[in-house]
Every structure is written in structure tokens, then in C-alpha cells.
Symmetry: C2
Subunit: 239 residues, 2 copies
Amino acid sequence: MTAKNIRARVRDELTSEIKAIARRQLATEGANLSLRAVARELGMVSSAVYRYFPSRDDLLTALIIDCYDELGAAAETAEAAVDRADLLGRWLATGHGIRDWALANPAEYALIYGSPVPGYKAPETTVGPATRTTDLLLGLLADGVATGALVADAAEPGRAAGTAPPVPVELGAELDRIAAAACPTVPREILARGLTGWIQMFGVVTFELFGRFQNMIEDSRRAFHDHQLRVMAGYIGLR
Amino acid sequence: MTAKNIRARVRDELTSEIKAIARRQLATEGANLSLRAVARELGMVSSAVYRYFPSRDDLLTALIIDCYDELGAAAETAEAAVDRADLLGRWLATGHGIRDWALANPAEYALIYGSPVPGYKAPETTVGPATRTTDLLLGLLADGVATGALVADAAEPGRAAGTAPPVPVELGAELDRIAAAACPTVPREILARGLTGWIQMFGVVTFELFGRFQNMIEDSRRAFHDHQLRVMAGYIGLR
DNA sequence: AACTGTCAAGAGCACTGCTCTCGTTTTGTT
DNA sequence: AACAAAACGAGAGCAGTGCTCTTGACAGTT
């Protein structure tokens, strides 16, 4: 069986080496990386690379999946280090974990959360790894609901009526559908708040990564992100 | 002088025709549009286009400036139609105006708010048009402060203490610097809240445009955006 | 009428994704 | 052990790209 694995193992090694070189080129070339350049750096001929990835888009797909998985793993380990009962701490750890990974891998973040590549259509195989980060939030909400730490607006102490508008009816059905599929125990009001915080979190990271903070927030970007996280945590009801 | 203008006028017409065709190709090709394809569609030879735009990046810059201006104008006209005293209405109009433009011009929105183009460095000439939308928010905040409708957290009725975390000291200096340069009358707490709402607004539009709502929010995206706008308006204190 | 600057066209360079063919090597089967 | 089948790397080639340079034609100025 080792004889059988000789070729397979070389293939696996070359496959991941191609991906590694492509990842490195991603940093300088962005989404329009060159298969020929990868082959050149590998000492191979361009047509040989096509034995491993049938097209450039397939290479991109492999990279996207890897990046989703890496980001998901980074967020998960950051979140797992916090006491389960500390909902706010888990939320903060998740948010900072995602930002840290994004700052360490800006090109990769742009690949998965930036503008869609023109002719590229993400296949179904990418949705699984993509939901790893959102699953963290949903787990957070479900845990909060289970322990009673997270309650809907009306019953929540310390929050005055009228501050937060109620979920409109048009949204209700859709939110219920999402909850039924992903987190049946979470009421729609809490799910809506979680979604708002989730979007804000990625919005801040995206703004920072894409240079929209230039000439604005320069020295205290981490503190800014932390503040946004805490604001949204307060809105969601995490404490 | 008309004799002199014959050439200049033809030049201007051709310049805008090139930009128009490039805009149209932007929709299908994304940021990596082809100068040769533009020339082909124009019945010209590629080298002739270089008389009008010294490089592909310069064409891109021209498009970016046009898009920023268009988005800014769309947001301004939407906001200008609302009664000056109606801060919430102005905020909603701005937000929906931006979203409407983005939905009508998704490729253009991706160009200016999506991932930065790999080798491309936006020149200084783009920052002016880029700030048109943020100026709307700052004007909104300044108006609210001037009329007394917008007040800092502690004095604001209907909001309980502890819901919104205070601005951390590290952020304070930076926020004061921004305020001093752009909106001297707006206190840092209100500016911080406005910034949060601003990021959330663009975050929602970006998520929707970049396909992150697929299999989640499908039928009520406008209502969702509207709800987000109202949530953030409540947080900022607009009413 | 002569000069000067602008223009479109064409050839050419180096690059890209991708396909096809060719000889070689490895694999699985008889 | 022998052999067919599959996998592999190399090379040539096609159509496309951004960009540069040169050439010849035209317009505006003096």
C-alpha cells in the first residue's frame, strides 16, 4: 500500500505546495493571481499545474475553502478559551479572533469577504466552511437563551422602551425561517439583534481592511473595534 | 474659439464615451476590465485609447471618481427631499438612497467599496468625491447638535445607563481630532455613535451586495435594511 | 504655405488562461 | 514477471491582455 501511496503522497504534497505558493502570491496580486507564475515559482511548466487544478477557478475555490476553514478555526479557538458562562467574553474573543486573523491575512480576507470575483461562482462546497463563524454566534445566542441570560427586549432590565425599534412583521417570517433551520430555541428578536451585531462586526473589519479608516482612525483601531464589539454586545444583551 | 474647440469637444465626447463603455463592461468584467475590449467596442484601436487615458489605472481612477460623485449625488438628493428638522427621516433617506444606488449599480459599488484592486493605489483626487456621503452624516449630526435634538448619552431621556458603553479614553483623542477637522460642534460621544451607525449602514449594503444574505434574508432585504437603519438611528439618538 | 501639435493605426513585446500532443514513469492487473 | 492503463511533465500553440514605439494623416497657428 505504500507503493500505492508514493504517487498519491507526492500529489498531495505538490497540491498543497501549489496552494501555498498561490496564497503567497495572493498577497501581492490579489484575486487575479497567475497560474503561470505559480508554476514558474514551482519550477514546473504551466500545463503541468493543470494536472492538479483543472482551472484557475478551481485553485481559487480551494484557496477560499482553506481560508474559510482557517478563519473559522481561529475564531473557534479564540472563543473556546473563554468560560462558557461568560457570554460577553465569548463574543469579544470571537470578534477579536476574526479581526486578528483578518489583519494577519488581509489578502485572504479580501478573497472571502471582498467583492465577488467577476466571472467566478462559488460552488456549494464553500458554504460549509463559510458558516463556521456564523455558527459561533448562533451557539452564543442559543447558550444565552438556554441559561436565561439572554432575554427578549420587553423583559430585559436596564433597557428603556423605544430605544430599539421592534422587528417589523415582514422580517419576522424570514427570521423565524432562519431560526427554525439553524437555532430553533432562539426567539426572533434575539436573532435579529445578533444578526445586527454580526454585520457590524464584519463591517468594521472590512472598513479597516479596505482602507476606509485612513485619515480617520489611525492609532486606536483595535480599541475602536473593541468598542464596537461592546456596543453591539450591549445591544444584543450579552454581558 | 469655436475652431479651437472643435478638437477639444470631440475629445471630451470621446472621453466620456470611453468611460461609458468602460462602465458597461465593469458590470460583466468587474475591476479587471479590458482596455482593448473598450477600444474594440468603440471601433478604435487599443493604442488610440491611450491618447485619452495614459493607463488602465487612470481609466479606473476616472470611473471611481465618477462613481463616488454619482453615489454622493444620489444620497444628497434623497436626503435633501426631507424636512430639515426631521433628523430620522434624513438619516433613513440617506441610507435608502445609498442602498438604492448600490443595487442599481452593483459593479460600481464593488469598485469603490469592495476589495482594493491589487496593484492600484487610489490617488488623492478621489478623496474629495469619496467624502460626499460621510459629509451628509456629519451635517446630520451637526444639525442635531445645533437644534438640541441630539444630546450625549447621560442627558438623553429614555435611555438607561449601562446599555451603551462609554467611549474609551484611547478613542477619545482620535475622535476629538476628527471632530476638530470635520465637525467641531459635535461632541465625541455623538460622533462615535454616528460612526457606528455609518459603518453598520455600509456593512449591511456590502453584505447584501456581496451575496452574504443568500439562503438567509431573501424576500425582505429592503425591510431588513430599513430596520437596521432604525436600530442605529435609535442608538445615535435620531428621532 | 510652412510649421507644429494632435490623432488613429499598426507592429511588436511580454504576459495571461487554457488545450493538445508527445514521450516517460508509475500503477494495477493478469 | 509482463503488460495495458492511468498519471505525469514538458513543449508548442491559440487567443487574449496592458503597454510602447513608430508611421503617416490631419487640423490649427503663424
